[in-house]
């Protein structure tokens, strides 16, 4: 993997495409999974990942290196995800369906999801969480990302994030437990 500083210098020196292709190669897959675990559906994750890189392309000239390059990209991706989920919430309200109901329908038809019923229940439960809480839950539950790192991306204190995670955990657990017997 090339040095981030070298890639950024190359980008700012005008070799933008070559440098940016290296960034996508270095961090694309990691960012993808960060996004995918939160939004769940591949097509949404793909769209948000590409949008993240489009925004990064536009802002990279002004990147000062106050944080690492991946942390910076992660922050852009997280903001894109939260904006997307907030927009989706408005659409869900208009459709008079709940997020878990819509997610259940999508997962049944999704070729890129091969989980069993318990896994589907977990994803439905995650879909029921408010956007910011969803991000925190996924980061801690799946990746065990340190609270300090999540704090840098979301701009809130670690104490507040811990409160959010533990509340989300309780909600997800109760959602799954309440429905698990129905599916058996």
């Amino acid at each position: 993997m090339s040095d981030d500083g070298q890639i950024i210098r190359q980008f700012k020196a005008g070799q933008k495409e070559e440098a940016f292709n290296q960034i996508v190669k270095n961090y694309g897959e990691r960012l993808y999974w960060h996004i995918r675990r939160i939004v769940i559906v591949h097509e949404d994750a793909d769209d948000l990942l590409q949008e993240t890189f489009v925004k990064a392309w536009g802002a990279l000239d002004r990147f000062r290196g106050d944080s690492g390059l991946y942390t910076w990209l992660y922050r852009i991706a997280t903001n894109e995800v939260i904006t997307f989920l907030n927009r989706k919430k408005i659409d869900t309200t208009a459709a008079l369906s709940t997020e878990p109901e819509l997610m259940a329908a999508r997962l049944k038809a999704d070729r890129n999801f091969d989980g069993d019923k318990l896994q589907r229940l977990l994803q439905e439960a995650i879909a029921s969480l408010p956007p910011k809480q969803r991000v925190v839950f996924c980061e801690r539950y799946y990746n065990e990302t340190p609270y300090e790192d999540i704090s840098k991306a979301m701009g809130t204190s670690t104490g507040a994030l811990k409160a959010s995670y533990h509340h989300a955990y309780n909600k997800v657990l109760e959602y799954v437990k309440a429905r698990i017997d129905i599916d058996y």
Binding site: E17, F20, N21, V24, K25, G28, Y32, R36, R37, I40, H42, D46, L49, Q50, E51, F53, V54, K55, W57, G58, A59, D61, R62, R64, D66, R75, K89, N112, F113, D114, G115, D116, K117, L118, Q119, L122, Q123, S128, L129, P130, P131, K132, Q133, Y141, Y142, T156, S157, T158, G159, A160, K162, A163, H166, H167, Y169, N170, V172, L173, V176, I180
Partner: protein
């Protein structure tokens, strides 16, 4: 089937601790990452954002933003002192968060410790909870009032 049962009983009451569940069963189309770079550059080309970015994380001149923030804080403090709390304090908050306020405010170190280490639970103070709810669009003054009413 994810193995959480034994003889019809949950092996553990906390289903989420099952390690198999933490492996999200998601796949990607074959070759997706191999062609990602190409698709990103196509999107960059069509987005019209090659010259001008829209994201600014570190403003070059911080003092106008800081001055505006100070003025906003002074105005907000004045309004809080002179006007009664209105439902506007919740206007920007997510409905889920609004519904969950009582649960959040009731979060105790004991309940959090069920799923967290003692060390983690110690850091979750009432102020941290208030801060998180404020981050989600609720006025912190409104929240402290809710706390006082609950006591």
């Amino acid at each position: 089937m994810t193995e959480i049962f034994k003889n019809g009983m949950y092996k553990s009451d906390d289903i989420l601790q099952n390690e198999e569940l933490r492996k999200a069963p998601m796949t990607v189309p074959e070759g997706y990452f191999d062609t990602l770079g190409e698709r990103v550059m196509q999107r960059v080309a069509t987005s019209g954002k090659q010259q001008h970015g829209t994201v600014r994380f570190t403003p070059r001149k911080w003092w106008p933003a800081a001055a505006a923030a100070c003025l906003a804080a002074i105005v907000a403090a004045s309004l809080l002192l002179w006007t009664p709390l209105q439902p506007d304090a919740t206007a920007d908050a997510d409905d889920e968060i609004l519904d969950a306020i009582p649960e959040y405010l009731d979060l105790s170190a004991e309940s959090i410790a069920e799923y967290a280490s003692e060390e983690e639970a110690e850091d979750i103070s009432q102020d941290a909870i208030i801060e998180y709810l404020a981050y989600n669009g609720l006025g912190s003054a409104y929240l402290y009032e809710q706390l006082a009413d609950a006591e």
